[in-house]
Amino acid sequence: MTDALRGLGLRKLHPSVGDAALFGGLDLGATLAMGGVQSHAGLLAHHGALVLSMAERCPAGLAARLGQALDARPALSLVALDEAVEEGEGLPAGLADRLGLFLDLDGFAFADAAPIRLDTRAIAAARAGLSRVDTGAGLARLARVAAELGIASLRAPLLALACARAQAAWRGADVLSDADLRVAVTLCLAHRATQAPAEEEESADEAPPEPPQDQNPGEQDTQSTIEDLPEEMLVAAARAALPPGLLAQLQAARVARQAGAQNSGMGAARKSMRRGRPLPSRAGKPGAGARVDVIATLRQAAPFQKMRAEMFAHRPAGRLAILPSDLRIRRYQDRTDRVLIFVVDASGSAAVARLAEAKGAVELMLSEAYASRDHVALISFRGAFAELSLPPTRSLVQTKRRLAGLPGGGATPLASALDLGLATALRARRSGMAPTLALLTDGRGNIALDGRADRAQAAEDMGRLARAIAAAGLPGLVIDTSLRPKSQPRELAHAMGARLIALPRADARALSRTLGAALGG
């Protein structure tokens, strides 16, 4: 991939790139060594494409800057290599919205990829032909398809139009053909779809089309004008580009993306360079958010001044001689964000009233989290498996919606809930938050991890996962929601290394208070 783009003058970007590297700035080391101001140009000043590797770890701040740069300079192009494997990861949505094309390389083996050769002369010719392309009715078609796929953003059809125009110019044509529009829909619109197109066709067994690699401009004979092309065909192109089962997961994926945008994925360092309680400064290079501690730097340099005055005799007298090794940077102790993961038993054995109480508690905690800026996540379990009803969020709007739609009844897949709770907590920890599990259950799990109704296997799975949670060092809390105290919740809490609180009859407010006390505020 990157090989193919080499001809375009690529520059690589890392998610932890600092402002100085992006926008340019003072080259402190060189400045001190030379005794005069030396600055270096930033990556954004560079002409050509930028490649953002590990885009799934792109923090919101960087995404905002890149988004602004893309808005301000149309000539800038960005290739984001998103290696997200789990939901909850992914490029921040604000930036993803501004990127035009989307390629899913899942399932492509490296050996299968033919070497891509770029003919720079053909590209230049196509570029010159761009302005001659008449977009005509294609514009309205793309807008309609985007609306049909439930894409709210108006950037999407615009980007698709640009893609179709480029495709036509590449063919050397002056009019958009149906093939151009199909390519645009496949590359620009399909991955943004939030709803299945209205008419239900058999989509599962349609093979994805060959990725369009028009190496020979002008060879295609599809010169039929777009007037002949029904919108259904374009929508079908979008549908074919969607892997089977994707539409079903769309809702979840979208939510996960939103959560990802918020949680930057960067692992908020506990030793922060920018904020929090000051720590002693230490030697280091400023930049990437680290600030020079001027006083400490001077203090470090002071004892050597007499010696250095002789060393740097060519410099004007009375000037401090500071070497890069004298530089001290500031450090701060940063408090990480807390995330409360509620794992709520919505099975039939937990009475429906319990579910209502748990819902109330989560809502109350969230409005309290307003003040303490905690995140809240919600996992509910019933039937065969647990599901992440609400990824870590601070949003009241989402919580309300998600809670209102939480159903109850069915078997108790407690093992699956523990598994998902552990995964969610670890993911939150990776993105720099401090997770806490709050499990509301009567402890009577009867579904094994693989979804079978096998009480013995379920108990074994539960025990294993509970120990894994304890081993991960996750602070936890088990709230026994059964009507009479039973032994299972106690054993579970013991295995998890969690506190047990029996609440035979709690209202939401009492539950929230208890939680607050148990978690230390």
Partner: protein, 333 residues
């Protein structure tokens, strides 16, 4: 490339009105635009900057002061020559450091020339203009605190690195964001004068028109601009006329009474609601060329001025816009 013309933005009338009102009376205190991605929030802010008349500022002043005596003494400006600048619209990116916002010790000069100098930050550059924060709801808390402080006092005070610096920082705060990604703290919410909610246009024809104009703007720039520049100029003239007329707009007692009773019925906290509502209604009257604030102006301005000041009720499914509309119908028939 010149920004997209303000008047060429399709629909989104409430957002456009709110922005025009802050241009007429900056004391209204900024606009918060909440809504989906790709609905023209950023486009509108940048278009507004191009629409506004340029300002006169002392040459070299880091905070765009109009007169020499307003320049902060640390800037060391002695010439009173002024230059014409476009109204500043400063972007505050997410993940910005405190230094960049408030300004800090100029490390370059400190280390190379041994001088203790102040390097002005974004707040200084936004003085007399606009400070635009995209995704304001994702802004880190310590930056929010900082902005709250400055937005209230109109002055930026820096006490760090052995520096003691102050300079004026009066700007119109424009924030945009998507409420699904996180809430804004009530304290910062209250600091915005007006708030509007934007949604993607639902009709195909509107969407097609948006794309057609944007496409023309990008690919047929000269002709597109020649078509819309006169309309932008007309709107600019209207804004300037409204600014001039603003001090003469009469505020009858009944208008004050209306403002107070709407706010009381809605139970908005504090008195900032009434004040903003009155200012917005007055700017609206000036924009419409009316000589006095009428009930119609108040009714039009109330949703933008009050929507974000209501106590949040987690169990109310309808948005706060609907609540304002409900109360308005009762209180101001």
């Amino acid at each position: 490339m010149t920004p997209f013309p303000f008047t060429a933005i399709v629909g989104q009338d409430e957002m456009k009105t709110a922005m025009i009102l802050t241009a007429i009376d900056p004391k209204i205190g900024g606009v918060l635009v909440f809504g989906d991605r790709g609905t023209g929030k950023s486009t509108a802010v940048r278009a507004l900057a191009a629409l506004l008349p340029p300002i006169e500022a002392v040459q070299g002043c880091p905070c765009n002061s109009a007169r020499l005596e307003d320049c902060p003494d640390w800037a060391g400006i002695t010439e009173s020559a002024t230059v014409t600048r476009p109204t500043p619209v400063i972007d505050l990116p997410l993940g910005v450091t405190e230094d960049r916002v408030t300004g800090a010790l100029d490390i370059e000069r400190a280390l190379t020339r041994g001088e203790k100098a102040f390097e002005a930050g974004l707040l200084a550059r936004a003085n007399r203009g606009y400070l635009y924060i995209d995704e304001v709801n994702l802004l880190e808390d310590h930056i929010v605190d900082l902005l709250l402080d400055v937005a209230q006092s109109g002055e930026n005070v820096v006490e760090r690195d052995g520096l003691s610096i102050r300079h004026p920082a009066r700007f119109v705060l424009v924030g945009s964001g998507n409420p699904e990604e996180g809430e804004l703290r009530p304290q910062l919410l209250d600091r915005f004068g007006l708030s509007v909610e934007v949604t993607s246009p639902g009709e195909i024809e509107t969407r097609v028109e948006v794309i057609r104009r944007r496409d023309a703007y990008e690919n047929d720039h000269a002709r597109f601009m020649s078509e819309w520049t006169p309309q932008d100029a007309a709107l600019r003239a209207q804004i300037l006329a409204a600014r001039a007329a603003l001090p003469d707009v009469a505020t009858p007692n009944v208008a004050l009474h209306d403002c107070a009773s709407v706010c009381l019925a809605l139970g908005s906290d504090g008195l900032r609601g009434e004040l903003t509502l009155l200012r917005a209604a007055r700017a609206l009257a000036a924009f419409a060329g009316d000589s006095a604030v009428s009930r119609a102006h108040i009714r039009d301005a109330a949703p933008m001025a009050l929507r974000h000041r209501l106590r949040r009720d987690p169990l109310d499914e309808a948005g706060s816009g609907a609540r304002v509309a409900r109360q308005l119908a009762e209180v101001l028939p």
